[in-house]
């Protein structure tokens, strides 16, 4: 049985997928449902290849990293097979871990240009009908800035100012009442003293 082979290119990057059709799924001769081999080549970088599990984890990590970069969120992407993070100098640092023992992880450093080329190749693969890979499980599951937290914020925006105003008003009211009560009792004391002094004078 002949293997099918398809390649996807974008500027500095080439992704090659080889595999076989799955006739039990009514595949045509030129389809690939069973990926036997894949290879990702980026200019000036070592070639990356591996099993379908590696490919899936690489695609998943790149898609998640793209979404996080665009959303300007700083999260580390780490899995059993790949770590992918943006460093301080604005480059993506990739660590590919082999499943075989005694093989050191492969470390790569790529810029934004190569990163977008790789994403472009994965997007081409995603939209290529002849290769059947379930991308639903590979798409980033990034929690939206939750409506709940937005409501919380809105709630705090709505509730906090009147509560603060009420507290301030209460403090001033109590201060006012205290002040006037003191003033009244002081004037009463003064009148008592003056009455007493009159009595004293009369007694004299």
């Amino acid at each position: 049985m002949l293997q099918n082979k398809y390649s996807f290119n974008q500027s500095s990057t080439e992704l090659v997928i080889s595999g076989l059709p799955d006739y039990s799924n009514d595949d045509k001769n030129d389809n690939i449902s069973i990926v036997s081999n894949w290879k990702l080549s980026v200019i000036n970088q070592p070639e990356i290849e591996g099993s379908i599990d590696h490919l899936k984890s690489v695609i998943k990590a790149f898609y998640k990293c793209a979404a996080l970069s665009l959303l300007d969120r700083d999260e580390k992407i780490e899995s059993e097979l790949i770590d992918l993070n943006l460093d301080d100098s604005g480059n993506y640092r990739i660590t590919l871990k082999s499943t075989k023992p005694n093989i050191k992880p492969l470390k790569l450093k790529i810029g934004y240009a190569e990163f977008s080329d790789i994403i472009n190749c994965f997007d081409q693969l995603k939209n290529f009908k002849k290769i059947k890979i379930d991308f639903n499980e590979l798409l980033p599951n990034i929690k939206k800035k939750s409506i709940f937290s937005l409501h919380n914020n809105r709630f705090s925006y709505i509730i906090v100012p009147p509560v603060l105003a009420l507290i301030t008003l209460s403090i001033f009211t109590f201060m006012g009442i205290y002040f006037f009560e003191n003033k009244d009792s002081r004037s009463k004391n003064i009148s008592m003293i003056s009455n007493n002094s009159n009595i004293m004078i009369k007694m004299n």
Binding site: Y112, K126, N127
Partner: protein
């Protein structure tokens, strides 16, 4: 900001956007160049800001135009990003882009606003310019429209 970056790269950007909108059969949303300009004026940082709300269909239309323009300009976008990635060896393209982008911001935006002043400050905003170009490059793929829509809806 994305459309302004497109205009920075394509000197005839407003004409191209209108041509692309016609190609995408969006005449009902953007019957003239002025209609696109009016929608772009919804940006509160602009000098002549339009306070009229943008509807969902118009929002999608602008995303389609941005994504399609990015496809058309991808080689240039990539070259500018690459110039920034290899700045020590090849700074010219990045410098040209950044100076024209700042010029356009100064020309179109309200420069009294602190946000706009920060945007015009290269030291403060060069990473932001790079992110804008990365967004355009990731919007240029076959999945670009969906990606851009997802990002803008989650900002």
């Amino acid at each position: 900001m994305l459309l302004l970056a497109i205009e920075t790269i394509d000197l005839n950007g407003s004409e191209s956007m209108y041509a692309i909108s016609n190609k995408l059969n969006l005449q009902h949303l953007f019957p003239s160049k002025v209609s696109i300009w009016k929608l772009r004026a919804n940006n509160p940082m602009r000098k002549s800001q339009n306070s009229k709300n943008i509807n969902y269909e118009q929002f999608e239309g602008l995303i389609k135009i941005t994504s399609e323009m990015s496809k058309y300009l991808y080689p240039y976008i990539r070259a500018i990003i690459s110039s920034k990635d290899n700045y020590t060896n090849n700074p010219e393209l990045w410098n040209d882009f950044q100076s024209r982008y700042i010029e356009l911001i100064e020309e179109r935006f309200n420069t009294e606003s602190i946000i706009v002043q920060n945007l015009m400050n290269y030291d403060y905003s060069h990473e932001f310019y790079k992110k804008i170009l990365l967004t355009l490059s990731l919007a240029s793929t076959v999945e670009g429209y969906n990606r851009l829509k997802f990002v803008l809806a989650n900002l």
